[in-house]
Symmetry: C2
Subunit: 311 residues, 2 copies
């Protein structure tokens, strides 16, 4: 099986209290692909410019990711984002956004990308996401991410797009904003009425929560002493989650399997933020990943020991 | 064994999008006591005025709570708090605070209160907490709560007080403010250098996290469709947590037991917010409590199913 991801491929400039990088590989499709590559074949679709060179391809291909659907725009420049994080890493300021080749991106899926079993629609304009969904020929699992910009400027289109996917993954603040419902359980119910059977709320340092036909599942984030750069954490989570799903046949994709997928997503997000950009995940080993999932299980499990209550 | 709690006994006026109450029983010591009463004998210490009558005593005594150390101040009025919650229940505005008898509160522990095995210092001025700690004769588990007011106005005293307890329980924003460290793991390390071996960060709708000598434990909050009144959730959590600890001998109070205590705290907090004030917990049954803890375990557990990773 395989998973196709359509989204941004970028250069990021990031400054945090722990250091800075002036130009590093980033973008939602990149973070997603690297995380998902631990589980399944990944095909990445997105535009780049002339400045996207062999070193960048090598990061992806070194993890076995199929790059044939990366569209290289002659004379163009790759999407660029510059941001700075404060001492509290929840405070992020965007200093510069240059859409460049991303401004005119018209996704074209190759036969191979169309034939994948699983599709991840990373955060791009919802009309484009719907266009990708229409091109894609698969019948397996489709997950979608979005952001506050589209909720504010293209809410109706986004809701229509959400209607065509199996799983919506959003930050919990965006989920509230989209549904206009502050309660997570009710917000998820609203989304499920629009179409998706699975709703995942990404909660940053607080972890993630999921609601399916079978109910709720929640996990805290993996505790870290050092968070160097939060950029791409959500996409790494999505790559771990969706990649794990893609590695299993459709009839096994029940609540229990999706709960395990949440654990892999959580583990990959935690590695992602330990260093700048993709630096940590690009050299992550499968043993390290398995160790962190096991540790995550240990630190969230409490024994069943029925107590005789006094009253 | 038994647990003594020293804190506020109050009347609250609360308005939320789901309704309002003009005068209902509240206060940190009350919410704590009701929650802890499921596990162990509870002795409650705090001041009340003439307006605190048989109905209020009955709520406590109906759950077997020892009220002999409630100090009734003749001619005085009970502590009064009035607040309103917005549609997003994280937004809370205090409309009125009347300290009344609480302004001159000088805690005096009776022989019975001094002889308890476990002590909970609910949120009061840190000098008073230290005074209570000095009066108390026990050698068991001592836990302490505080708030932003004391961090801002009496930080040195608070840190000295924290140095004399086993467990600090704070909202995570207060933990950051107190330690001046945004990272939870590092904030907990700082607190543990001051004295306590156990640090619990209450995270509201995101649950709670704990750090002990044996490491980290985290739980999401129990998911609820309807949160009617968040007042007292933190104290109900503390009552469940500390009450569970109190019901077990000192040599069993290890990380695994404290993790189970976190689950009982989480369950009690979730019941507390389902209705106004103490209304839900006051009529809660032990079967309902056990059911919710079992459900909490189910919705936070993922199976061990090692996957053969692709790379």
């Amino acid at each position: 099986m395989s998973v196709t991801v359509v989204g941004s491929i970028a250069f990021d400039a990031v400054k945090t209290p722990f250091g800075e990088r002036e130009k590093m590989l980033g973008g939602s499709a990149v973070h997603f692909s690297l995380a998902a590559s631990f589980f399944d074949d990944v095909l990445v679709v997105g535009p780049v410019g002339d400045d996207f060179g062999p070193d960048e391809y090598e990061v992806l291909e070194g993890r076995g990711i199929e790059t044939a659907d990366i569209e290289r725009v002659p004379g163009g420049r790759t999407f660029f984002w510059k941001g700075e994080y404060g001492w509290d890493l929840n405070d992020r300021e965007t200093l510069d956004t240059q859409l460049n080749v991303f401004a005119d991106f018209e996704p074209k899926l190759s036969a191979a990308s169309r034939a994948s079993d699983v599709l991840f629609l990373a955060n791009i304009q919802p009309d484009l996401q719907r266009e990708v969904r229409a091109q894609w020929g698969g019948t397996g699992f489709v997950a979608l991410d979005s952001m506050n910009l589209w909720i504010e400027t293209a809410r109706d289109s986004l809701i229509e797009t959400i209607g065509g996917v199996d799983c919506l993954m959003l930050n919990d603040a965006e989920l509230r904003q989209l549904t206009r419902e502050p309660n997570l359980v009710l917000a998820a119910r609203q989304v499920r009425e629009w179409g998706p059977s699975v709703v995942v709320a990404k909660r940053g340092e607080y972890g993630a929560a999921m609601i399916t036909d079978e109910g709720f599942f929640g996990l805290p984030a993996f505790p870290l002493e050092t968070v160097v750069d939060p950029t791409g954490a959500g996409d790494s989570f999505a790559g771990g989650f969706v990649g794990y799903v893609a590695a299993h046949p459709n009839d096994e994709r029940d609540h229990a399997l999706l709960s395990r997928a949440m654990a892999y997503g959580t583990a990959l997000a935690s590695y992602n933020v330990e260093e700048f950009g993709v630096e940590r995940v690009a050299r992550l080993t499968s043993d390290e990943l398995a160790d962190r999932v096991a540790e995550l299980q240990r630190i969230t499990r409490f024994d069943e020991q029925p107590i005789v209550l006094r009253h």
